[in-house]
């Protein structure tokens, strides 16, 4: 489905399946996530987006299928394996401790020690550097508690944490879901900045406007299957909606909104070639 490139993509999934009891959450999913690009993952509720990112993050090891990291076949046995490869996930709930400050949150689980004690100075310097590299300049002090931050600032801290930990792939689950207009723009700018720095970003979002603002590629899932992966210039919002709801679309890319076609009836088995 992807236009071929010479170097292997950062992450490739081939034929990944995952069942929870009788429920098949993922069926034979293929996906490439290249470095230096935002891959948006779209799909209706229950389409398998969350399960897919949990597979990649090592939380739910897949039942079948293969995962290639920088061209090498690999298998994750837990979140620690994913983190060791350089995969960081920014969850929707952000997983920040309100009662800790920005520096403590960014280093949580990987504190720097100096003579057995927490090395606050070195951690604070590194955290400040990362935040200013990412042009996150709205926080008053890196020593302020996360509880006192706005939603966008919290999101920025969570993303900066992923950067600080030298991740190659940053997975974001609905990063703008709870944000206002200005803060959404701040977070989307941050996403582009990550990509400019060479990170790969895999972004889950329901918000089509956001997707088309930042994504380089769009992957659409439906009923646990990957029904389409296209570069951003070969897809538009109506095609995404077609793929999400029916699993296929024979529209041409167009800037004109059209509303003349009825949605097709559901067919779970249908996968476009």
């Amino acid at each position: 489905m992807d236009s071929g490139t010479s170097a292997p993509p950062l992450l490739s999934l081939r034929g990944v399946s995952k069942s929870f009891g009788p429920v098949q959450a993922l069926a034979d999913v293929d996906l490439d996530v290249p470095a230096g690009a935002v891959t948006a993952l779209a799909g209706d509720n229950g389409a398998g987006k969350s399960t897919l990112i949990k597979c990649i993050a090592g939380i739910h090891p897949p039942d079948h299928g293969q995962m290639f990291w920088e061209g090498e076949k690999t298998r994750l046995h837990g979140p620690g394996d994913a983190a060791a490869l350089g995969i960081q996930t920014v969850y929707q709930d952000l997983a920040l401790c309100d009662n800790l400050d920005i520096v403590q949150n960014m280093f949580l689980g990987r504190e720097r020690l100096r003579r057995g004690q927490l090395d606050d100075v070195s951690m604070e310097q590194a955290a400040s550097e990362t935040l200013s590299d990412l042009a996150v300049t709205t926080v008053r002090s890196v020593r302020q508690q996360v509880a006192s931050l706005s939603g966008g600032q919290r999101q920025s801290v969570a993303i900066a944490k992923a950067v600080l930990w030298e991740s190659k792939l940053v997975i974001m689950d609905e990063p703008t879901a709870a944000l206002g207009v200005a803060q959404t723009r701040m977070v989307l700018d941050l996403v582009r900045k990550l990509v400019e720095r060479g990170h790969a970003v895999l972004l889950i979002s329901h918000n089509m406007t956001d997707v088309f603002q930042v994504a380089d590629r769009v992957a659409v899932m439906r009923h646990g299957r990957m029904v389409g992966v296209r570069p951003i210039d070969q897809i538009d919002q109506r095609i995404v909606v077609d793929l999400m709801t029916t699993g296929e679309s024979d529209r041409e890319v167009s800037e004109q909104p059209r509303r003349d076609e009825e949605p097709r009836p559901d067919d779970d088995q249908e996968v476009p070639g």
Partner: protein, 411 residues
């Protein structure tokens, strides 16, 4: 905070030249932002002192204040024990009777017919209470039982064990002079001064070096003058304490010197504050109490941190039990572990520790314990009954929680 304020706020990471005024401004902003720290409890302590002094006139005498410090020791230690579990968002209802078990083990082993030396008896008492904490923690984390229920069971169970060992209405006397001297013994006048100066000197060097490193690294740091002021304040406070303790407070024969138990409580405070404030373990305690799921995703072993919290709680309760037994020179079935644990929770909360986890310090336990002892002591001087003391303590507790809640809501 939003775009509107951006221009006015310092850029993250930009080295900030900090003057005394700016630094105090930052501190004031934190207080206004709801991080009131120990200010309410210190204010409360001053208020209570002024009130009792106005009503009686004996409250602020050297004799009574030193006596008050000794009275506060058990409350302060038990409140510190409770801080560990409250930080984790848990509760430990058993600390009162765990202290009782510590006291029983101590007194039992130190009896002349058993003949353990004082240090071995103390060691055994602390080992016993540590193991109790390990048992509680293991039940809570490995089986997943609520700490409220497990430690409520602990409250009943260890009370039962204590009554069983002591017999109905029984008691064990402590004759070992060293054990009794923990609370009744005092430092000689020169030793008190020397110890205070050493402590201030060590603290001064540590704080100065830490602040100097921050200043050298271009981070927001307290200016040197403020660091010196901090050290000077400690020196003044320490000197005040020693002057107070070294004054003759005897009625018939001269009595003076700092009681050893004050040194013990301050020592426990320093160790626990260091553990919680400077070590990775302490940070993890705060992280687990703040957001257990975030801590888990960060790779923190929740069960281990929680178990350690209960172990440290019971260990601290064991120290409190030793002090309790030393003060009474015996341990008897009159130990009311149920009231003690409620005072322990109240002390921690009055000191500023949150019941919901993640916010609190060892210092809060000591200050809260002091408030509770001050109310007890002051109302005793005024001739009030136990009934009135309970009522007033309850009011102070509610005021403390209200201050905390109001301060938080404004953020």
């Amino acid at each position: 905070m939003s775009v509107r304020e951006d221009a006015a706020t310092a850029q993250a990471g930009a080295p900030a030249a900090t003057s005394v005024g700016e630094y105090l401004g930052l501190a004031w902003r934190r207080i206004k932002g709801g991080e009131t720290g120990v200010l309410p409890v210190v204010g409360g302590l001053i208020l209570v002192s002024v009130l009792f002094q106005a009503l009686d006139g004996h409250f602020l005498t050297a004799g009574n204040l030193v006596n008050l410090l000794v009275q506060a020791a058990v409350f302060a230690l038990l409140s510190m024990a409770e801080v560990f579990v409250l930080l984790l968002g848990e509760i430990d209802l058993s600390v009162g009777f765990v202290a009782g078990i510590g006291a029983v083990v101590l007194a039992w082993l130190a009896r002349p017919q058993f003949g353990w030396p004082w240090w071995a008896a103390i060691g055994a008492a602390l080992v016993a209470t540590t193991l109790i904490g390990l048992l509680h923690g293991t039940l809570i984390t490995r089986i997943g039982l609520p700490s409220f229920v497990v430690t409520l069971g602990g409250l009943l169970f260890w009370q039962g064990v204590m009554l069983f060992v002591l017999g109905n209405g029984g008691s064990i006397q402590i004759q070992d002079p060293v054990l009794n001297a923990i609370t009744s013994g005092t430092l000689s006048r020169p030793l008190g001064w020397a110890l205070m100066l050493v402590v201030v000197a060590v603290f001064g060097v540590v704080v100065w070096r830490r602040d100097a490193r921050r200043r050298g690294s271009g981070l927001v740091a307290p200016p040197g003058a403020l660091t010196l002021a901090k050290i000077a304040a400690l020196l003044v406070g320490g000197a005040g304490l020693i002057l107070l303790a070294n004054a003759d407070r005897g009625m018939l024969a001269p009595v003076y010197g700092l009681p050893w138990v004050v040194v013990l409580v301050l020592g426990v405070l320093v160790v626990w504050a260091y553990l919680l404030g400077r070590r990775r373990f302490g940070l993890y305690v705060y992280a687990v109490g703040g957001n257990a799921e975030a801590a888990r995703r960060a790779g923190i072993n929740l069960a281990r941190i929680r178990t350690a919290g209960f172990v440290l709680s019971s260990l601290t309760a064991g120290i409190a039990g030793i002090v309790y037994a030393s003060r009474l020179r015996s341990i008897s079935t009159s130990l009311d572990g149920g009231t003690l644990v409620l005072y322990a929770v109240a002390g921690a909360v009055i000191g500023g520790t949150s019941l919901f986890g993640g916010r609190g310090k060892a210092l809060h336990g000591v200050l809260g314990g002091l408030v509770i002892a001050a109310i007890d002591n002051g109302m005793g001087l005024l001739g009030f009954s136990a009934a009135a003391k309970y009522v007033v303590t309850a009011v102070v507790l509610l005021v403390a929680v209200t201050i905390d809640a109001v301060a938080r809501r404004r953020t």
